[in-house]
Symmetry: C2
Subunit: 373 residues, 2 copies
């Protein structure tokens, strides 16, 4: 699996692993973003006529996966004669690696092709380290907002999930609590964007979610990744290697919203979100194939099942480890490391033994939202 | 000596030492800033009437030393009925620790008294990781800019200083090269601010420099800090512990401008800076006493000369070490460490033997500059 770096960052994994660690693994996240570009090109057709053309990328992590897209949009704007000053605001949590982001945007990492800040006059890059549940800039100043794969995190875990690691395997009661938290978060997110957007401005977002076929990340037919996490984590509990409490504490602070959950605030004309002036322009779901699986299937004569497992699972580990590590936090570091190694080794052996059905396809819910004039 | 963290950051020392390392050492820098507050209060009287009240702190490092001042200014604005949205832009190099800055502004480090972002509605904190020699925001959008102790760094060393470590001890030919580089940098800095400032907006800055009495940082009567650096560095060369080239390579990338150098762009009505609409409102020089020395002299019965040396020199080391470390960069780390330890030990022993005249008073040149309407 390739991974949107915003997900890593939100979990403070990047800080642990260091800059650049994931750069080679973000091809899939970038691919998902590139496919959304027509929705942003469409938004360019009716941008608000503010004196400053303000853009924003919410939960942007190091900005790498969306950089080419933004560079292309700015090229289009300039080619179309829009010479307004452009201010680009990249937001993420305070723990985000903003230094890597700023270096990337200035082409300091060697790749200058999309360092649009250098290529155009009057393009300014700023950052914001406040979470996107809050309003992050002045009222009615934002012309075009964007967010990729960042808003499936809930602002707090409403409960631990007792017999699974993720809300997709929760009991109905647990799931209802996650759903309520996610609904409250989504309302806050939308109201904050409603305040920021200038009339006519759009917010385009793609988020992990559950599509109309019930598919979600790592669960698109065949094996289910979160079930497999649970299976191996449970085996460690049943084998006495972790405690019952450690088993329970491994709960992803995520909610994969359904299409209905994403669109609910737009259904009722009296909702706070509709009253704030937001209108849903479009919603669709999209599957982005797992690039590791594509590589494996496309070159089956060269890549063994063990090779495939050895590419897929460490990548999975890169963004999920923090959840299991946190569950083990009361132990000495060496013990934690050994337990995590054993856990992911078990999963890797499962995949190596029979890779069929194991893949990390993305399922995204894509939305275009407009602030009414 | 207490130290402005912007200086550290510009030299990437903070990254090496980690967040919070200097927090206890910034009392003097904060004191210098607090004393400039009346100049900013004065600027509030005639702020441009932009819809967004945009403020900026250039070379702000972690923002800690100026936070109380900004919190006070925002309190004044709100108390006076100015309810415009406020956007605060903290700028520094991309290598700056923006995470610490953003956490500080959200009161995440425990000190919430001046976390003004939390205390007032419609106050937004942003960062910018592009150097302040460039324009950093849209034309005519800045209402009030500020910078403390950040602009004595030259954007590049025009030459090594052969027989001293700092331009204050350079030959006339070397000094002329540093002076020319600093003049070009200062012109770029001012032209960038001229573009950013809205008509009527002000840029208030305090910078290390040389005052009308020839005083500068660590050279305010008695001993001269940069001469002492040179003395002990030269002794290491003469003792065969470092090479001649290593001696030469220890050159601070700094220029302490005189008052005349700071004001020169404003003297000639045909200068680029004047043509860009900038006007010098005031210039003055100010000495901020070394807090370590004040502590020593104020409690001489309790603090020995060795204690004083042990407080003064490690603090000096915290911001100067990077220069000497860079000069030794071709050696193994253990050798570098041993040589640096010996170098600062020599200096500490000098101070312990006779502390008289050793102090790290700040000398600042304070300027208020206005963009003409």
């Amino acid at each position: 699996m390739t991974l949107q770096t915003s997900e890593l960052n939100t979990q403070a994994v990047l800080a642990m692993k260091g800059a650049g660690y994931y750069s080679a693994r973000t091809a899939g996240a970038k691919h998902a973003i590139d496919r959304v570009r027509p929705m942003l090109e469409d938004a360019l057709q009716s941008l608000p006529q503010q004196a400053i053309l303000r853009l924003a990328d919410f939960g942007a992590a190091d900005g790498g996966t969306s950089q080419e897209m933004w560079a292309g949009l700015i090229a289009t704007l300039r080619a179309n004669g829009d010479s307004r000053p452009i201010e680009m605001l990249y937001t993420d949590l305070a723990s985000n690696d903003f230094s890597t982001l700023f270096r990337t945007m200035q082409g300091m990492h060697g790749d200058t092709a999309h360092a649009y800040q250098n290529s155009y006059e009057n393009v300014f890059v700023h950052g914001c380290g406040t979470g996107f549940h809050q309003q992050l800039m002045a009222d009615a100043s934002l012309c075009l907002g964007f967010s990729a794969t960042a808003m499936h995190y809930v602002s707090k875990k409403p409960c631990e999930i007792e017999d699974h690691v993720h809300m997709v395997g929760a009991t109905p009661e647990e799931r209802a609590q996650f759903s309520a938290q996610a609904a409250a978060d989504w309302e806050r997110i939308l109201l904050a964007r409603a305040a920021e957007l200038a009339p006519g401005g759009r917010f385009i977002c793609l988020n992990f979610g559950i599509d109309e076929k019930g598919r979600y990340l790592g669960h698109t037919g065949g094996q289910s990744m979160f079930d497999n996490f649970t299976r191996h984590w449970r085996a460690m509990r049943d084998g006495g290697r972790i405690t019952k409490q450690e088993f329970i504490r491994a709960t992803f602070a995520q909610h994969y919203r359904t299409v209905e959950e994403f669109t609910a605030p737009f259904d009722d004309p009296s909702s706070t979100v509709r009253q704030a002036g937001l209108k849903l322009i479009s919603v669709e779901t999209r599957l982005t194939p797992c690039p590791y699986n594509a590589l494996y299937r496309g070159s089956s004569t060269k890549m063994s099942s063990a090779d495939y497992a050895a590419s897929l699972i460490p990548t999975t580990r890169s963004w999920s480890e923090t959840v299991f590590r946190t569950a083990l936090a009361s132990r000495p570091e060496a013990e934690i490391q050994a337990l995590l190694d054993a856990f992911y080794d078990d999963y890797e052996q499962q995949v190596a033994a029979d890779p069929s059905g194991h893949a990390m396809d993305y399922i995204h819910i894509l939305m275009a939202i407009e602030k009414q004039a």
